[in-house]
């Protein structure tokens, strides 16, 4: 078993080293503060290596690590302003090198991948439809907490989920995530009409 493990590990490590060297050599004009984006964290490494299908031990390690990174609102209130969440869900602004210096707050870009408000027809399908998400869950407060966690860090729930870790990466603020939770979970939100 040990011999097989070593045999499998060597080419993978060599491949990974080759890959890192190619990446290092292919972004020579990147500013130092941007170069960090090319370096993978442990979770990105594992999800790349296992092509988003990690074995149980690796998946458990990801879930534990990512869960530990979630920060909850100090006052315990998870629901913000659904109207602000509605605007955030539309905005795909932020994080590109053409977005520097920032001209607006980062957006959640939810519609790139999810259906939400039935009135918005320009929605993507990379993620599941979230239409009537709160209504279908009877607006339960435990569900609001689950939505907060899924936005803050989807990999705390599904190891190697495709969705960005919007809270843990600090792409969105706690207040913005609360507004998105309200957009998905509030009875008044167009998502639930």
């Amino acid at each position: 078993m040990v011999a097989i493990g070593v045999y499998l590990l060597i080419p993978r490590d060599e491949g990974a080293a080759l890959l890192d060297r190619a990446v290092e050599a292919s972004w020579t004009t990147a500013a130092p503060e941007w170069r960090g984006r090319l370096i993978q964290d442990e979770t990105q490494k594992a999800c790349s290596q296992y092509r988003n299908a990690p074995p149980k031990a690796a998946a458990d390690a990801i879930l534990a690590r990512e869960k530990a990174s979630i920060v909850y609102p100090a006052d315990g209130n998870l629901m913000g302003d659904w109207r602000k969440g509605q605007a955030l869900a539309q905005s795909g602004y932020g994080g590109r090198f053409t977005d520097v210096p920032p001209r607006a707050d980062n957006g959640g870009n939810c519609y790139a991948c999810h259906q939400l408000d039935a009135e918005e027809l320009s929605y993507g399908t990379l993620g599941p439809s979230l239409r009537a998400y709160g209504k279908d869950r009877k607006f339960a407060s435990a569900e609001a907490k689950a939505v907060y966690e899924r936005i803050y860090n989807p990999q705390a729930v599904i190891a190697c989920a495709n969705m960005p870790r919007l809270g843990s990466s600090r792409f969105l603020t706690v207040e913005q995530i609360k507004d998105l939770v309200a957009f998905v979970m509030s009875p008044e939100s167009p998502v639930n009409q």
Binding site: A25, W34, L38, Q44, C47, R51
Partner: protein, 272 residues
């Protein structure tokens, strides 16, 4: 030329009509729009870039006062016909695997004597600009393989190494969004907003789209090369600007071309 603004205006009208269509009809409307894009192949502004590229190819230019007519794209000096179908490939003189665009830079440097920094000063055109020299040249060379099928070279160890690298890169997650190429191009029938996404690890889907590039993009009013297409994906992935002709873009190109092996080259296609 006068046909172009009319076509663009017409297509924008169709695009504008899409959001008001009933949800069930969205895909049908999009399909109608796609058909309009390709209905008359001679209305393709990408062909103008190919013409410009051909003139540039034959023009005596640069410090060495030479044309590119002795440029070896892999099938021998000056042989353009069918060359794009076999790129990227290993070039002994460069001791490197090069894609079409990196090879064009190589020839402009070695044959015409241009400085690399000058060639790459403005590699990509902006919206509604005339194509850059590299874009025009790439479009011309690709058009000379229009109708051929991709037949990538994988005999040389460096070609196989580049392919393995490209495959690993396709699945490499990185950056603030954790995106890999596979995040958007790893499943069938997915969309970003209304934009359909090809599943590029699936040969049938890769064959349908990889040979379309360099392509004329209606939304940009200009041609976009494979190099630019990949650089734009990395921009969307929130990474810095990837180097022109880098190991990463060449490796991804050889991966895509290998997925599209046997697929028709339809460049320059007309895209959204």
């Amino acid at each position: 030329m006068p046909a172009r603004p009319t076509i663009v205006a017409l297509l924008l009208l169709v695009l504008a009509a899409v959001p008001v269509a009933a949800s069930d009809d969205t895909e049908k409307e999009l399909e109608k729009y796609r058909q309009m894009l390709t209905a008359d192949p001679w209305s393709n502004p990408g062909l103008l870039e190919a013409d410009r590229g051909e003139a540039l190819w034959k023009q005596v230019r640069g410090p060495n006062k030479a044309s590119l007519e002795r440029c070896d794209l892999g099938k021998g000096p000056g042989k353009v016909e069918g060359a794009f179908a076999e790129l990227p490939r290993y070039f002994k003189d460069a001791d490197r695997v090069l894609d079409l665009e990196a090879r064009l830079v190589w020839c402009m440097q070695t044959l015409q004597g241009f400085a690399r920094a000058d060639i790459l000063e403005r590699p990509y055109s902006g919206a509604n600009q005339t194509g850059t020299e590299l874009e025009a040249l790439a479009t011309y060379v690709a058009l000379k393989s229009n109708g051929a099928k991709f037949a990538p070279h994988l005999e040389h160890p460096k070609e196989r190494e580049a392919l393995a690298l490209g495959e690993a890169l396709f699945f490499r997650r990185q950056g603030p969004m954790d995106f890999a190429c596979a995040t958007c191009h790893g499943d069938t029938g997915k969309r970003i907003r209304l934009q359909a996404l090809p599943y590029l690890s699936k040969p049938e889907e890769a064959r349908a789209v990889v040979g379309e590039w360099p392509a004329y993009r209606v939304s940009q009013g200009t041609v976009m090369t494979t190099q630019h297409r990949i650089a734009d994906c990395y921009w969307q992935m929130r990474l810095p600007l990837v180097d022109y002709g880098s190991d990463v873009t060449i490796a991804l190109t050889i991966y895509l071309v290998n997925q599209a092996r046997g697929g028709d080259i339809t460049a320059p296609a007309i895209k959204r």
